[in-house]
């Protein structure tokens, strides 16, 4: 042992090369050691949920800066880095992500892009939301302006994901989650988009309150009566195929002369009472010589020329109490200039021509004129006005169904009902005589339904 002490006094010269070794080792190894420790720390933090993570290493000391989403997560991350072999000290510069109060998230769509803004609870949620947005929006640009914050309501992820999917159904608008309140505003892309969004919102997780203010593009139905082509063109939307068929059939009954051109498409999103508003409006259109009917949501606009003054007044007054509530009726009706007067013979020809194209309809077994016949009656009145001197016999006929006495009575009543209608339209009562012939003058066999239908008729005879 004594020798060791003696010898050790001579060991010092080796310290000089050792010093050189140390300098070289420090020179070459410092950066390598630091990057090794940084890589190990990074690997240790791989599975933690942090934002803006920065790991800086000086010597063996690690400075960890990050935004954590819970106090446990924050402490856990620091502990993980402390446990990395080789790390001497951890300078803890982590902090908690600020808490948003209220927690607001929004998705806004304009013409070219969708902007996601407000707060998202976790980076993973944010990533998933962007993914869903890009997937459901196809080629539309998605701009991410979300920041991270704590304080999201429970089941926020599910709600936000569902709402992002609704953005695709909007043309423009904004969807906002503020704590547990969901507000939607804007314009749906298609007819029915509003209904589709409302249906989807039923799947929102429990606890979210919805204020849905999405508007849909107007539900438009149009009908154009063209006197030159003698057509009625229907275009726009109808609620479904049944309503479609019913509307076209009603148009066929009301427009006895015109060919119905059907360009209608079925679509959801019709205002309630759509058919109940459109059918009487078509009836009013049928009374015009030329005209356009536009039903846009709950606004019914009719414009055109009536055949005579009284008709114009009636059409302007609208369908009255039959019209469904909430619908607005606007009519811009002028009166077609009166046609040149003609003598009785021409009048008779015109009456026969009109009544060969259509017949005046009544309610079954009653003397009440079917409103579908208003268009035909208007034309008959217009014709009667052209020959003011002619005396006209209105002749009622029936088929052979039922006993003769009742048929006779019915034919008389129906003829009288037509005469009354003409008088009400402003024609002098002394020009008309209503005569009933019962079933005594058939024009076709009474053995078929078609024949019977032809025999049930009103004739105008100029005397």
């Amino acid at each position: 042992m004594h020798g060791l002490f003696r010898w050790s006094s001579k060991w010092w010269p080796g310290l000089i090369p050792l010093l050189v070794f140390w300098l070289i080792a420090a020179w070459t190894n410092t950066v390598a050691l630091e990057s090794d420790l940084a890589a190990r720390s990074g690997a240790a933090l791989k599975d933690t949920v942090l934002d803006k993570t920065r790991v800086a290493v000086e010597g063996r000391d690690v400075t960890l800066a990050a935004d954590a989403f819970s106090e446990d997560g924050r402490r856990g991350a620091v502990a993980l880095v402390e446990a990395v072999p080789g790390v001497r000290l951890v300078n803890d510069e982590t902090r908690l992500v600020p808490e948003a109060k209220p927690f607001v998230w929004s998705a806004e769509r304009d013409v070219v892009r969708v902007t996601l803004g407000g707060s998202a609870p976790l980076p993973a949620t944010k990533g998933r939301m962007l993914e869903v947005a890009r997937a459901s929006l196809g080629g539309v640009e998605v701009v991410d302006q979300m920041s991270l914050a704590r304080g999201a309501p429970p089941r926020f992820d599910n709600a936000a994901q569902l709402l992002i999917e609704q953005i695709a159904k909007l043309k423009d608008g904004k969807i906002t989650i503020s704590d547990s309140n969901v507000t939607l505003s804007g314009m749906a892309r298609d007819l029915g988009g509003r209904e589709a969004i409302a249906a989807a919102l039923k799947n929102l997780p429990e606890g979210f309150k919805v204020a849905n203010d999405i508007k849909a593009p107007p539900y438009v139905f149009q009908a154009y009566k063209d006197p030159v082509a003698v057509t009625l063109t229907l275009s726009g939307y109808v609620p479904d195929n049944n309503a479609h068929a019913a509307l076209v059939a009603a148009a066929g009954r009301k427009f006895f002369n015109e060919k119905v051109v059907d360009n209608l498409k079925a679509s959801v999103g019709a205002p309630s009472g759509f058919a109940a508003a459109v059918v009487p409006a078509l009836g009013a259109l049928s009374r015009l010589s030329t005209g356009t009917l536009v039903v846009s949501d709950r606004e019914v606009k009719l414009s055109g020329d009536a055949l005579y003054d009284a008709a114009a007044t009636q059409v302007r007054a609208g369908p009255g109490r039959d019209f469904p509530q909430g619908f607005q009726y606007k009519a811009e009706i002028s009166v077609k200039p009166a046609a040149a007067p003609v003598d009785g013979t021409v009048c008779q020809q015109l009456f026969s021509e009109l009544l060969s194209k259509g017949s005046i309809r009544f309610e079954p077994a009653r003397a009440v004129i079917d409103p579908d016949s208003a268009g035909l009656l208007d034309r008959l009145i217009e014709t009667a006005l052209r020959c003011p001197a002619a005396m006209i016999e209105i002749a009622g006929h029936t088929d052979t169904d039922g006993d003769d006495a009742s048929n006779q009575a019915l034919s008389e009543k129906r003829a009288q009902a037509v005469a009354d209608y003409l008088v009400k339209a402003g024609l002098p009562p002394d020009r008309f005589t209503a005569v009933g012939y019962g079933s005594t003058q058939p024009v076709a066999g009474n053995d078929t339904d078609e024949g019977k239908a032809q025999n049930r008729r009103i004739e105008f005879l100029v005397r």
Partner: protein, 101 residues
């Protein structure tokens, strides 16, 4: 410590060999040695440095360099001790072989 040793094993081995060589030479070296007082001061200095290192007094890179120096010094000293002892042992075996020594 294990991490440091594993990371710098080459340098530690070099220090050990350097120490072994120095120890080997020191037994027969005729030059001036370190005085007792000086040795005591040096030992004190090393102890202070070890204490500073253990207490993590020096931050960042200087702290690491201090640790590196100390863990290189340790194998050097061990090498010196082994070298000197071995040289002495070799010499003491060869001395009796010389007649009349």
């Amino acid at each position: 410590m294990a991490y440091l040793a594993a990371f710098h094993w080459g340098w530690l081995l070099a220090s050990l060999l350097l120490g072994f060589a120095m120890g080997w030479i020191a037994v027969v070296h005729r030059g001036p040695g370190v005085s007792r007082a000086m040795a005591r001061w040096l030992a004190l200095l090393v102890a202070a440095l070890v204490a500073a290192s253990v207490a993590n007094v020096m931050p960042g890179r200087p702290g690491y360099w201090l640790e590196l120096g100390l863990i290189m010094l340790a194998p050097y000293l061990v090498g010196c001790a082994v070298g000197s002892w071995l040289r002495d042992w070799v010499l003491s075996r060869s001395v009796p072989a010389k007649p009349g020594a």
